[in-house]
Symmetry: C2
Subunit: 627 residues, 2 copies
């Protein structure tokens, strides 16, 4: 955490200085977010990082979520929480999925036996764990983050969107009207530059832009309940997939706090037009079913904290924005949809909350960059392109997953296949396999070999390093916060310690001139790293480095006092394989990575490819000065 | 974190259910704490864990501390914060002291050169780092902890203690009067069972019980300031001890946030009766002096966040309570003093805040145990015994330290000695060397060899393990919270997996009978682990264990539902040396450790020494049932 740059302040450094409009209820805003689920809150928390952006977030319900819904938090989401600054809270409070147990009847079809027990998250898949925590608590952490932003953003509850239209107004083209559920008969109108519909599976925003969810709805019915159980089943504190001989299957997800457990229980398939509601599923029914599946083990449910019945429907929209669909046929997108509003899926893969958050983590920095005048509006088209493809992939994956769960494995081979599937998709469900296609924001793989373990189009894969100035062992990826900044990450060739004449010094020279890249895109009067943040990683042990010999760009003077930022240079971890080995960085040549503000690897390039970097940014960013 | 034991609740699990008297201003209380420094707040946070104990904490100042004073947080204090549940906040926000640099003039007495650079905290000294953070932020975390307790405890500011007397009243013998500084002329009286004076170096409580600080006051004057500097001195983000040829010495302590730095600057010695105030020390003077010492490096101070001038005085009281000194010559202590109220010292060793917190961490559980009817009042005498000895040791250490800092090393040998001293005392300043003497609360070392790395009388030394039920890698020491409970920690012999007939099962049998130890000291209707908490560590890898075969005592049913507590059994870490190797546990015989509620090792015994354990507790605890 860096703070006190512009003077010492007392109190919690996570609380930003108050903006003059903090807490005001504005009726025209830069961004209107509809819906306070994980998608809406991720976006609101992201935008709250920028005091100059005005935001409202509205929610139909009368207050924050308190219980139920999703609970699986993939490694990649925890990495994102780290960028938001609250990963440690989630890791402290949540259950960690360390291993998965598989149970099946014995060879003669009798009873239940533990068939296998595997590691849940493969070694070095992520520096973060796979965590289970009540979705409501994730909401709480986002709400706190928003509240700590300069504008002290809080949701407007009891506001149900009824209509959304796009007008010709050049500034605030979008007009949204809400029913005020706390004042029956009253309505409220909000005008906005951008509207993001995070309003869930029955999205009003989606309907307003004429999109529809497509896809077959599978007919499997699942019950889910959060219970306080007493059982003699040995693996009640492990994630456990149990397939009984004749009673169906159950998935046990242990929960935070050491006692609570979530059970996903297979119910009979739905027939014809039958809906989940037709079944009159009750908590008692779910308990009985769970008991039957778990027999001969006993299950006594002492309290049901929450339960629900689910019909598995895998559906996705063919576009996630209103481009070419706006009231005026405008092609520039102004209205976006995210999360369940544009893709719904089975809870089985535990993807709902994670993918919804990933949607708006993708969108947030783009909207911010355009609103802040840093980036060209074309940037916004990439949201639908990138996330629609991802959602489709998820739907396909999810459908396979649901089928697999519903089909009883009959043979040894099918059983083995089931487990293999679980393992194979570990990377996928962890969220680290998302790969955006080459295009405006993602380069080609021509120089991928320079950093074989940092795949172009995937998220940056963190590794341990030592921060040069204070010799602190840190995760390199944790230096990259959700602050809207691009990163240039320079890996030095062997023996380059940053001294004059070396590749790193030359790179800095080429970036730092008054006409050069960094100055071109950095607004006058702001810090040199405020748009593009350069960091360097050396191969030399930190005690053999001379920090005083680093180029000025790696010791930049910042803020109103010109204080030196000492957190730009890193060295190999003292023990274990270093980041060059772990991530396959070419030791002889080094490498230059361009990371997007959402931590995806945009480019892998040779250290001297400054022109390529300039070309890349020229297509996306708007020059801020003569440079 | 364990929660939801007595039913699912929404919201932050760190916030305890509200006590009926929460927030009430009581004029008779169990414990009155005077002073809101680190000593007072540690005690208040500890007592806030027990809803049945009523507490008030008063402070002369009008509000919480915001800036200045101490900032060094020793590893042992971070371990204690972990027990309080906020270590991760301190670690996130604070500066980590990883290495220390030593600077001296060159061989010809010219300029400054880095003479050495050493690791600050030795490997495996503690699982926690040495951290630097504004004392005010430590206060904030304690205040939050108090506020989250069942009684929602907050300090009463603007209350200056004027008199404290001990009367014959059998219930509330202590009468304290306060000036209400927010209502001039008004006073307030509070009656209490116990009073703890945490009111700093000029303690009114100390005076009221007739104690005095003894010891010489060294005559060295030091200036301290927290600044935002710009400098070309390379090690400005490392803890650095700099001794100049002719201008004296300076200690650089980098601070939280990446820019702030604390400078301790040597000023000229005081002469005769001269006091620090006589010198008219100013921030400008300190800056000039710092510049002179750091030359030829430049130092530009952009902002002074806080500064102070210190005369080093090393003093300690000969008793920390009023036993044999109470108004009625009563020998049972009722009034205690802690922290700077009973020992003052140089800031150089960075011990002030740490030792003050350690004082009341020692006292808190004892007062709580007596008030809750668990322990005999004799327990309270051990506070002064244990902590007075520790304070004297600190004073001795501190005096050496101050002398060493003031004396300019003249020869190579003296320089080497200076550094050797720094290294040797790393363990000491980390706070992990405190060792309480054998007595009521600490056993002899007869069986020390069974657990050579868990020294009787020292704090329990944590090590990584895997929690059996959920396969989570955890620090064993972090299972022990500041909840007033004793721990019995059973290390299993080789191949004992807890199954019937083994040493662990036999131990459980002997502890668990209706007449036995655990039942004897556990109040009817409370959980079996509410006074003494048994945990076991096995040598068998967790995947080879059968959790269902563990004795009932290691899977106890708790709370109103009889839910199973699955966090009692641990196995070796999957990689690296295991806890048996790391801590020298006898693999063939195992070992039985008794840990005090403040995590000190009270006894190391053979696994079958249940009689010795019973004898130990019989001397301290009060039987609660027929057992
Ligand atoms: C009842 C329920 C149970 C679930 N159970 C599971 C589970 O067991 N496992 C799992 O993995 N996932 C589960 N999910 C799915 C998971 O919660 C979602 O995938 C995730 O919340 C999607 O996030 P979102 O932000 O896109 O949408 P949501 O979380 O659905 O948030 C949408 C928000 O918009 C609000 N809203 C809707 N319309 C309007 C309007 N017109 N005006 C204003 N506000 C509006 C809604 O009230 C809601 O708060 C469940 C979802 C629901 C609703
Ligand atoms: C000005 C100052 C600067 C310091 N600088 C450093 C430093 O640079 N480095 C370092 O390591 N240590 C420093 N210390 C020492 C360190 O802060 C103390 O060792 C530590 O705070 C001791 O904690 P404590 O709780 O025992 O006492 P304190 O923190 O002194 O707390 C005592 C509290 O009691 C209150 N109080 C006093 N009398 C009364 C009364 N009659 N009624 C009600 N309340 C009363 C005081 O206002 C104060 O808040 C400094 C201390 C002070 C006071």
């Amino acid at each position: 955490m860096q703070f006190h740059l512009n003077g010492f302040t007392t109190g919690d450094p996570a609380i930003a200085p108050r903006h003059p409009q903090a807490g005001e209820t504005l009726d025209t805003v830069d961004v209107l977010i509809v819906g306070c689920g994980p998608a809406g809150l991720t976006l609101a928390a992201q935008l709250a990082a920028f005091p100059e952006i005005s935001v409202r977030i509205t929610e139909r319900k009368p207050g924050p979520l308190e219980v139920g819904q999703a609970d699986g938090i993939a490694c990649r989401s925890v990495e994102m929480f780290e960028a938001f600054g609250f990963a440690e809270k989630v890791m402290k409070e949540g259950y960690w999925v360390n291993e998965v147990a598989f149970w099946r009847p014995g060879a003669q079809g009798e009873g239940l036996q533990r068939a296998d027990r595997i590691q849940d998250v493969a070694d070095d898949l992520s520096e973060m764990p796979h965590v289970i925590l009540n979705q409501a608590r994730v909401h709480d952490f986002y709400l706190e983050k928003m509240q700590n932003g300069a504008r002290r953003l809080t949701p407007d509850y009891d506001r149900a969107l009824t209509t959304l239209t796009r007008t010709d107004d050049p500034d605030y083209p979008l007009v949204a009207t809400f029913d005020c559920l706390d004042a029956p008969g009253e309505t409220e109108t909000i005008r906005a530059r951008y509207v993001v519909g995070c309003d869930g599976a029955r999205s009003t925003v989606r309907k307003s832009i004429g999109h529809e969810l497509h896809g077959e709805s599978a007919r499997q019915l699942w019950g889910v309940m959060d219970v306080l159980p007493v059982t003699d089943f040995p693996d009640i504190r492990l994630k456990a997939a149990i397939q009984s001989a004749t009673e169906g299957s159950i998935l046990i997800i242990p929960r935070e706090g050491g006692y609570l457990v979530r059970l996903y229980i297979e119910l009979d398939a739905l027939h014809g037009d039958e809906r989940a509601a037709d079944r009159n599923v009750s908590a008692e029914m779910l308990i009985e079913k769970a008991q039957a599946i778990l027999a001969p083990y006993t299950l006594e449910v002492k309290e049901v904290a929450w339960w629900s019945a689910y019909e598995i429907g895998q559906r996705v929209c063919d576009g996630f924005d209103d481009s070419d669909r706006g009231g005026n046929g405008a092609s520039e997108p102004r209205i976006f949809i995210a999360g369940d509003a544009c893709h719904t899926h089975s809870p089985k893969a535990g993807q709902g909350m994670n993918v919804s958050m990933a949607d708006t983590f993708n969108l947030g920095w783009k909207v911010a960059a355009v609103l802040r005048g840093q980036a060209r509006p074309e940037l916004l088209q990439s949201y639908s392109e990138e996330r629609q493809a991802k959602a489709q992939e998820l739907i396909d994956f999810d459908r396979d997953m649901a089928r697999l769960f519903s089909a009883k494995p009959q043979t040894k081979e099918e059983e083995a296949q089931f487990q293999a599937y679980f393992q194979k998709h570990g990377r996928y469900t962890a969220g680290v396999e998302t790969q955006y296609a080459p295009g405006l924001l993602i380069g080609d793989a021509a120089h991928q070999a320079l950093a074989a373990g940092q795949i172009v189009g995937k998220r940056f894969h963190s590794a341990p390093v030592v921060r040069l100035a204070d010799a602190k062992p840190v995760q390199l990826g944790h230096a990259f916060k959700a602050d809207g900044r691009w990163r240039l990450l320079a890996f030095a060739p062997t023996e380059d310690t940053g001294e004059a004449g070396g590749a790193i010094a030359q790179l800095c020279d080429r970036l730092d001139g008054p006409e050069e890249l960094l100055h071109r895109f950095t607004p006058e009067g702001t810090d040199i790293d405020s748009v593009i943040d350069l960091r360097a990683v050396f191969q030399t042990p930190h005690r053999e480095m001379r920090i005083e010999a680093l180029p000025a760009l790696l010791r930049p003077k910042k803020g109103r006092y010109g204080l030196v930022d000492y957190e730009k240079a890193f060295c190999p971890a003292v023990t274990g394989p270093d980041i060059f080995d772990l991530r396959g960085i070419n030791r002889a040549q080094g490498a230059l990575l361009v990371l997007r503000p959402d931590q995806y690897v945009a480019q892998v390039l040779p250290l001297d490819a400054v022109d390529a970097v300039a070309d890349f940014f020229d297509r996306i960013l708007i020059p801020q000065s003569a440079g």
